[in-house]
Symmetry: C2
Subunit: 378 residues, 2 copies
């Protein structure tokens, strides 16, 4: 792991500010990673991502394995060069998509056989092949192949967790590149005893970082928070912690409050394609007719390209006219919201003001409605 | 017309290099204007347009009149501010779209009644209302309301031309803003005597620029060239000439060779959305499987953002995966091709090498096929 190290810069309660050194640059944590499923963050160029100061991008192993194929990406010099993103990249293991998107034929002790959702072709992923694919893709942070079970099914979670632990060991053994950091994944559904066991097993293995999987997949926010509070003292303090698939502003604050360092989510770009924007004070639907004559930007305090140049009236016009630029401009704003929130949280932790920051943020977030935002001149 | 003036810098044969001064900056001619139909060049931000050095953008009066409405645009400070484009803008008169897109109820001496293609509502455009709408939109260059007839129908063209001339006079009378340059439009189909008459009538009116309408609407290239050669000596030399709706690379060269200064076309952005790219050596279809493993950019000599950072293999992947970024990156390249071609032509004219440049360009353009491009390592 010579290429990677994690430094804790400051701590405030359970909240942590750190630096994760990677071969493609330092990640200042807490950090939010926008998702580039098919080796592109939808509707955004890499230059635009850099302009809004995103530092880490996630790409999906499942999708790239099926199309264009990991070997092609390797032949093209790896993901960084293929998608023209010079900064850190994280790939997931493919496990989650196999279980959520594909038509599964068979899960066995060795791996998963499934049919591609694109062309129905028979495919197989094992811990070893997932690592091989991720080595071909060449991301800085790669993930152990795991099984994500439905959160409330105890019997399923016991089996899936056992497989996840066995597969974690096999992933560690399969990995050969020293310029990639392999993270293990904690599973266990909403069951405290299983989560505790999983955190101990994965936490004791030789992973430079720990991911928490299987949350944000149907359980309540209260259950997610309880799980994070349970895991916080068990997980090794000196390793970055990555809460997979989580990404609303309030989720980021709640995660950081409970010791999380890294987040990823499709939410900012998916909301943008459905004309919704996230701000530090709540969501707005840009199709809303109240914006038709509104000269103000989405958020008058926001420094993103969209808010610096375009009115709500113009953005609503793009949405109504079904122009592609709507997805681009709203994605830029939404990603910027999460990137700037991460930066604000880091600063608050360093200044030991996180508790105040987080309670004010959550109050401001839930204390306003779309109409009050409107009246307040947000 | 104090805000506008046209200087001829150099001439080489019929080809002209000039500067058209506008309130939002100088246009160096020959110039190609990408089309932003609904107040956005599809899939491109204004910042990206500036990065690729586009200087003039066209927006469609018909579309903006229907949605979001010219009064809304005026209320938002006009088109420049609404679409966040600080450089020159040109609006057409709405005439062409009324005749090509709308369900026409009635053309009379006073104007055209039609149904909106969006919601079927009854609408009307007259010379006076077209000018009023264009004054609300606030572009630098605006167009007289005209009637574009099918090119081969002589009787129709006689009537349409007479209406176009009468309406041109009414447009001049209706115009009140001094910060907009109103161009007249020459019509007459493929009939030399009608075109000659129209050029004389429109050329003698008090327009600071002359547009040529009704070409590139179904007639052959040879007929278009013959019309331009006929018009060149008739049109006033001291006014910029705008060939409407024309925009392949070879069309630009052929137009400049025959005295044209300004072009606009949806071609670069429309082709991009259909995965085709234009280069200085011909077109490529990026869906083609021969590009699957091709590490080279679209055009290794091109300086655009797309060619500086992305391989054909990656672009093909985006096209196959139906990612929005494909439209963005291919549009950037295609617009850059026409913008850089315009710049090369201007330079060749200034150096009195246009005849050589144009014959080499046309030969290179038609002398290569997609496969030979491939082998040549374009």
């Amino acid at each position: 792991m010579e290429s990677f190290s994690f430094e804790l810069i400051a701590q405030d309660g359970a909240a942590r500010a750190g630096v994760f050194h990677t071969p493609h640059g330092d990640l200042l944590t807490p950090v939010f990673a926008p998702v580039g499923t098919q080796a592109t963050v939808k509707a955004i160029t890499p230059r635009q991502l850099e302009e809004l100061q995103a530092s880490l991008v996630l790409a999906n192993t499942y999708h790239l394995f099926l199309r264009p194929g990991d070997e092609l990406v390797a032949e093209m010099g790896g993901l960084h060069r293929f998608m023209n993103w010079p900064n850190p990249i994280l790939t997931d293991s493919g496990g989650f998509q196999v279980f959520s998107l594909a038509d599964i034929r068979k899960v066995d002790a060795d791996g998963v056989s499934f049919k591609s959702h694109i062309d129905g072709s028979a495919r197989r992923l094992t811990p070893e092949s997932s690592i091989q694919i991720q080595q071909n893709l060449g991301a800085d942070i790669i993930m152990a192949f795991d099984e994500c079970a439905p959160p409330y099914d105890r019997e399923y979670n016991i089996q899936a967790m056992a497989r996840t632990h066995a597969w974690a060991e096999r992933c560690l053994n399969a990995k050969t590149r020293s310029d990639q950091a392999l993270f293990g994944i904690v599973q266990g559904g909403i069951f405290p005893d299983l989560r505790e066991e999983s955190a101990k097993v994965i936490g004791s293995m030789d992973f430079p970082g720990i991911a928490i999987g299987g949350l944000s997949v149907g359980e309540s926010k209260a259950e997610m928070h309880a799980m994070l509070e349970l895991l916080n003292p068990i997980l090794p303090a000196n390793k970055p912690r990555y809460l997979m698939g989580v990404g609303s502003p309030e989720d980021l604050v709640n995660g950081v409050m409970r010791g999380i360092d890294i987040f990823d989510c499709v939410l900012p770009t998916r909301l943008a394609r459905h004309q919704a924007v996230m701000t530090h004070h709540g969501r707005l639907n840009m199709l809303n007719a109240i914006f038709a004559h509104d000269e103000r930007p989405i958020d008058s305090e926001c420094k993103c390209y969209t808010c610096q140049g375009f009115s709500r009236a113009y953005l609503r016009h793009l949405v109504v006219a079904k122009e592609m630029l709507a997805s681009t401009l709203l994605s830029i704003h939404n990603i910027h919201t999460l990137v700037s929130l991460s930066r604000m949280m880091r600063q608050a932790i360093i200044e030991h003001k996180f508790s105040q920051f987080s309670s004010e943020y959550i109050t401001g977030y839930f204390g306003t409605t779309q109409n009050s935002l409107q009246q307040e001149g947000l």
